[in-house]
């Protein structure tokens, strides 16, 4: 391979912001300098007006593989991810069968060899994701799994969760919890509050999330195990996480782009595209989450959840929860951070960031810290400098685009952003030195 030069961009990483070209040979960055010519026949990738960021890392993607190839596969999800600027995703284990054994871990890993991003496989905490007894976490750890979760549901049994955290802590793995107390969330389909009361849709109170977050933070203190809280959606959970930080506990948290941009008022349409779990929350929670992102307290993870079209044409309470996220995440986050208004909150006191400030938030919350949580540091989420792995996201911060559900790389179309205008679009994605997305189009 002759290599390439990414030319004309502004490089943003943990070390700061500078105008520079980036030269890549094979899988590695070989030079980051103010001007690099194309001597030696290097391919030139135009990035003028763009930001070059370390490739994004998604801690939370449902690849539906094995089990639902009509919805998504490892390959199609990785194409969607690459189009969204991601160079690594964590494959959630609530597949069919669930990723609760070395055999299924190896199956996904094998599929991942043909993917357009790195795919880190997460394993379940409990066998069959049934919440009854521990899955073979040690064996899966040996096979490379670093994050364990029963995502899709929380581990309801506090004693079992204690054991899981003790055991996983001993392995050096991380436990990621879907915080939802099932009895409190009983039969709910949207956030319980003003809108659910008005629409006559059974609600899920914020407390269903907060009760379990509080329990698990306490268990992290008890066991010393690293705890990652998935898709934080309420102000109350953020308060608990801050208290955990103050106490020095090994706790991290993520928020999803939809919770940073959409409020429960969207459900007034009764359109199941706005059904997700945890549910969209009131605008005040959206603002709390955006503020937490800006202040570096949480990372962004997509909770990319493909569903077939007919399942989202059911009445709201019969439709499955979940939204696509990989292809829109950066555009949504960028729009939220730089426009101030969010997409639907209607609040006028949202933070407004400059390009440089927003880029710094994106680098930390969508690449550097997620890579560390997933155990991918080194290969992912590094600084853009000679010697680093060539995993890059080239992002045009000024490009505006309208999301079209029929023109996504995902095999599914259940995006809540169909028809919405976003500011900021991924132009190129470079994975292990290979341009896998050029001018927004996947090359394979």
């Amino acid at each position: 391979m002759k290599g390439m030069v990414v030319r004309g961009a502004t490089v943003v990483d943990s070390s700061g912001v500078r105008r520079a070209d980036v030269a890549i040979d094979d899988r590695e960055i070989v030079a980051v300098e103010s001007s690099i010519d194309a001597a030696g026949g290097r391919r030139v990738v135009d990035a003028s007006g763009c930001l070059v960021l370390p490739g994004l890392v998604d801690l939370h993607a449902h690849l539906r593989d094995p089990g639902n190839p009509e919805c998504e596969t490892v390959e199609s999800a990785s194409r969607a991810a690459a189009r969204g600027g991601y160079t690594a995703v964590v494959a959630m284990p609530n597949t069919d069968p669930p990723i609760d054994s070395v055999e299924v871990v190896r199956y996904v890993q094998e599929r991942a060899t043909r993917a357009m991003t790195e795919v880190a496989v997460a394993g379940t905490i409990t066998a069959g994701r049934k919440g009854e007894r521990l899955a073979p976490m040690g064996e899966m750890f040996e096979a490379g799994v670093r994050l364990f979760t029963d995502d899709g549901a929380g581990v309801q049994d506090a004693l079992l969760m204690r054991r899981a955290m003790e055991y996983a802590g001993g392995l050096g793995a991380i436990i990621a919890e879907h915080c939802e107390e099932a009895r409190l969330a009983y039969r709910g389909h949207m956030h319980e509050g003003r809108w659910s009361s008005f629409l006559g849709i059974p609600g899920i109170p914020a407390e269903a999330e907060e009760v379990m977050a509080a329990r698990d933070i306490a268990l992290s203190r008890l066991t010393g195990c690293r705890l990652h809280l998935l898709h934080i959606s309420t102000t109350g959970t953020l308060d608990l996480v801050r208290k955990a930080f103050k106490a020095g506990l090994p706790v991290t948290g993520e928020v999803a782009p939809h919770h940073l941009s959409l409020s429960d008022a969207e459900v007034a349409s009764y359109d199941p595209q706005f059904k997700v779990n945890p549910p969209l929350r009131p605008a005040e929670d959206v603002r709390s989450l955006v503020n937490a992102l800006v202040s570096g307290e949480v990372v962004v993870a997509t909770d990319h959840a493909p569903h077939p079209a007919d399942s989202k044409e059911l009445p709201f309470d019969q439709a499955p929860p979940g939204m696509l996220g990989l292809e829109t995440a950066l555009g949504v986050v960028w729009t939220v951070l730089t426009s101030g208004s969010g997409l639907s909150t209607g609040l006028d006191d949202m933070p407004v960031l400059s390009f440089e400030e927003a880029a710094a938030v994106v680098v930390e919350a969508m690449s550097v810290v997620p890579a560390r949580i997933a155990g991918l540091e080194g290969a992912q989420g590094g600084t853009v400098r000679a010697g680093s792995a060539a995993n890059l996201c080239v992002f045009d911060p000024a490009a505006t685009w309208v999301v079209d559900r029929n023109r996504l790389a995902s095999l599914s179309a259940n995006t809540p952003y169909d028809g919405r205008k976003l500011t900021g679009r991924v132009r190129h994605t470079i994975f292990r030195g290979e341009p896998v997305v050029v001018d927004g189009e996947p090359l394979r």
Partner: protein
Amino acid sequence: MSRSLLSVDDLGAAGIQSIMRLSDSFAEVSSRSIPRVPALRGKTIAALFYEDSTRTRLSFEAAAKRLSADVMSFAVKSSSMSKGESLRDTVQTLGAMGADAFVVRHASAGAARLVSRWTDAAVVNAGDGWHEHPTQALADCYTLHRRFGGAAFTMAGLHAVIVGDVKHSRVARSNVKAFTALGARVTLVGPATLMPPCLDGWPVSVEVDLDRVLPDADIVYLLRLQSERTDESLLPSQREYTARWGLTRRRAALLPGRATVMHPGPMNRGVEIDPEVADREFCVVGDQVRNGVPVRMAVLFWLLGSGLPTGESSGQVLAVDGGDAHQPDSIGASDEEVR
């Protein structure tokens, strides 16, 4: 895109009053020996009932037939839906058969709104989950209008007390909107477990103690208590509900003489209301059912008819039908006489 009635909000006060005026005209039709007019001759109304509701379905069918419309009835329990055709496919199939309107009853909130997205035909919400049941509210408003009289179709100055399981009640949601739109003051009474979790933005007051509000009530609207509410621990027992929120004889004596007692039916005698109190003159449950037909005629005509038959022009749609009630679809000279 046709008109639809998905929520009382689609009407507002002026719309409710238009329906009331139309209902007055159609009530007169209902009282004739041959209660049928050709107002919707040639129109096809599809009744999609995904929940058991014989009363509402029969009321709509009677209304459609009295307007000379054709009725396609599709009764299916939601439990069998997963095995069969999807709601969307059913709507498109019946649409292809020429349905001009869908009357939709479904256990899911928002179902009628979904149907309206999939069809150009008019859609009437005949009850969607806990959300709304607008024609019940219209029948209730019309019943009150008949009882209290007055030409203005307003409820200004009246105090309506809605008692019981507001949380799970589509009737309560629609009636709160309709009563307040017409100017009434509304108080919700019941245990907190049966109140919606958040009432911000609802133009109502809330009271736990029924005895306190009864002396000041013009209308007491009792909601049905489903027996499963005690299984879900929303209530300790039906007995305790009756003791605290039932319209017992003792409580009935607290009501002012002008008060009207309503219930969407079917009543649990001995639970929401004392069996003897239910048979008193002020309990207008029978009127609510009776008035359901002209009100639903008015709604179907409002959605599918051409123009509002107000004033003199009402003669056009309200003229006596051809007279052959057994052959409503026959095309004969009598149709021409209507003009």
